[in-house]
Symmetry: C2
Subunit: 209 residues, 2 copies
């Protein structure tokens, strides 16, 4: 394989070459289809290249590993899930209701992956196991969503203002993992909506103290 300088494409690690290259979209679409159909683990870069009549070395011009492609697809899935949670959050006014919807919304999305998009669930699980960058970016976006809600609640007087903001947001963000982490949902083997509501109530009471 020809060695090239890796160019960061859109800030995503492991991606290289021109950002707006049509080929990139074509590769991403083929990867998405393969990961959904056969799973991340069972798909090779050669499978993806072959599906769109490209050579594997040519594919390396855009993604320097299968993981880089996995991270790109995983980011798309996690971003979509979070965007749906943000819609649920935007549909209610009070910061209390918004925060509750972060918990139940994430639980519902995680449970949806497990039940309706099992191969995506498995890939998200790999991203947790191998601490992919896509996961870190998702966790950061989730933290920012929770932070915006808490700041809004502090400004509106719904939430207290004396506890350290970053620590509180980080802790509450971690707490949502109990209902979104693919392994925990798998081990529970059932929807954790009630548990998510109960933990959301603890978070909410801590803020309205």
């Amino acid at each position: 394989m020809e060695q090239e300088t890796i160019i960061e494409a859109g800030g995503a690690p492991g991606q290289r070459g021109p950002i707006d290259h049509k080929r990139r979209q074509q590769i991403l679409q083929a990867a998405d289809e393969h990961f959904r159909l056969y799973g991340y683990r069972k798909t090779t870069l050669a499978d993806i290249a072959k599906a769109i009549n490209l050579s594997t070395p040519y594919l390396y011009k855009f993604f320097d590993s299968k993981q880089a492609l996995g991270e790109a697809i995983c980011s798309q899935c996690l971003n979509r899930a979070l965007a749906e949670v943000e819609e649920l959050v935007a549909a209610v006014k009070s910061p209390v209701d918004k925060l509750r919807r972060v918990f139940t919304g994430l639980e519902s999305k995680g449970w949806g992956f497990l039940n309706d998009e099992r191969k995506i669930h498995d890939m998200v699980l790999v991203s947790f196991e191998e601490r992919w960058g896509s996961l870190a970016r998702f966790k950061d976006a989730r933290f920012q969503l929770i932070r915006r809600i808490i700041v809004q609640g502090r400004e509106s007087g719904d939430f207290e203002r004396k506890t350290p903001l970053e620590e509180t947001c980080g802790a509450i963000s971690n707490m949502t993992d109990l209902f979104f982490h693919p392994m925990l949902l798998e081990q529970a083997g059932k929807s954790l909506e009630d548990e998510a509501l109960a933990v959301a109530n603890v978070a909410i009471r801590s803020l309205t103290a």
Copy 2:
């Protein structure tokens, strides 16, 4: 293998035969040694039987499967960990400090398994994956410990009394899983003491509201 009526020994499922039989202790000790040395997955009932000059069928008189032995050893380890956390809890007076120590104590024990007793960590992980009875009993004991602290705090006036007790205790008990679940500690790859303290603070603020 001779079929006998299964007698519940000490209420532990999968155990049979007379409770106080010396053989049972001998088998448990050999199992403990094997699981610690070679790991639960790699040990067979035949290995354990051979180590103490028993036949495998004879061993079945006491434990009806490897999992029954695994659950017995796992219970011992989890009970010991929880007993150590209870000691830490008993050493401080205020319900706030006690609750904080449940979080940091469990984190420390979980981290201890991962770092100092790796094979035990792996077995506890199996118990989470396969939802062993030993895990359910541990979770119940953890819930009861947290419930005792919260009831004490309600009686002393340190904690509020208006929220539903069982729901709150269940939620806070679940929250400790973030720092005790062997898979989460493994994926974190570092001590989660600071995170445990931050989440404990959320729990404590929710109770002092």
